[in-house]
Symmetry: C2
Subunit: 215 residues, 2 copies
């Protein structure tokens, strides 16, 4: 198909398609004559993947580019891709609290990891680890330490979900499909979990409010 | 304390403190003489809450302001606050897919809600609902419909976690504490869950990779 049809099918404008190609995020089409370039289904799919990461996943263009460079590197494993996708969706945030508060929070996170059978040596290089240290420091700093009991519940749920997620990815046929599954699972999985938390929280809160009124 | 000490204790600069006050996010201090204003512990706490929402929760200034206006409105219930906090942390995203694809996705989400005993009439006004329709449309659009089986796992986990979260908030002493708990629980809870998912996913993926190597 020509670039106009590609634009129409994917909802991505022609200038944006050209921009993605220049940036190496979309492979160039096949030049069939001096002023004609052909695109195929692989381009449709790639543009849809880019849109999903940008619009549903909320990633920056830079983060999407980083993920795609890795996806396009031959020989990458599913495990490698998970690391890249995780880094891309993880927002770096400024360090909070004093050195002592951070040390205490790090110890707390290490104990949490041990309780759930996670290998802390590995976990320390994981973006989730520093995010969690920030969160623990923040809860403590604001005197909301009661909420930390929830971390064990979250951790147990995360363990169960990770096993289910990896199982689904493992059953996918091709390596390309698996890699795309990991990218989408990481990027959209966070969004899906957040969305479901909103609905479940409102439903639960509504029941609690209704009970309080009728009491 | 004076504004300089307030800045030092909270890590928020004097010009930023003045900006937050002008914007109505921080109550003005008490003027004790023509050129001296006193601040107290409530100001320290409020600035820490603002920093947490901005830096750890990743909210925009506009979203933080919206939440705080609601927090400061007398007579707000914990259930009201949950709604406001949820809207603030939910990123609106462009509609995806054709009208037909969206209708199918909406039906799928409604069925999911019914399976988990959620009241769909309520849920439709919830930001999670439209986020989820986007996600379902995206998975289908990218031919990754296999991943949709995970939504039931996410939903079951979200239900369990919501009950635990509301229980923790319910046990908090003061209404102010409860409202702050809901705000932080919503804003930081998403981040905590995302962080724990990273660690659990890497741990699980590492085990799978290790088994594959030794096989």
């Amino acid at each position: 198909m020509r670039i106009g049809e590609l634009a129409q099918r994917t909802g991505v404008s022609v200038p944006t398609i050209k921009y993605y190609t220049r940036e190496g995020m979309l492979p160039a089409g096949e030049r069939t004559s001096p002023n004609q370039v052909r695109y195929d289904e692989s381009h449709v799919r790639r543009l849809k993947l880019i849109r999903a990461m940008l619009e549903v996943g909320g990633l920056s263009i830079a983060a999407v580019r980083e993920v795609l460079v890795e996806v396009d590197t031959p020989g990458g494993t599913v495990h490698d891709m998970l690391g890249v996708a995780q880094l891309a969706v993880s927002r770096a945030s400024a360090e909070r609290g004093t050195a002592e508060e951070r040390m205490l929070a790090e110890r707390e996170v290490a104990e949490l990891a041990r309780r759930h059978g996670w290998n802390p040596a590995k976990a320390e290089k994981n973006p989730g680890w520093s995010m969690l240290v920030q969160i623990v420091t923040t809860y403590r700093d604001l005197g909301q330490g009661e909420m930390l009991v929830l971390l064990d519940r979250y951790a147990a749920a995360a363990s169960e979900l990770a096993a289910a997620e990896l199982a689904v990815v493992g059953e996918m046929g091709s390596t390309d499909g698996k890699i795309e599954g990991v990218v989408l699972g990481t990027v959209l999985g966070d969004a899906a979990m957040a969305a479901l938390r909103r609905i479940a929280q409102e439903d639960t809160s509504q029941r609690v409010a209704a009970r309080a009124e009728s009491a």
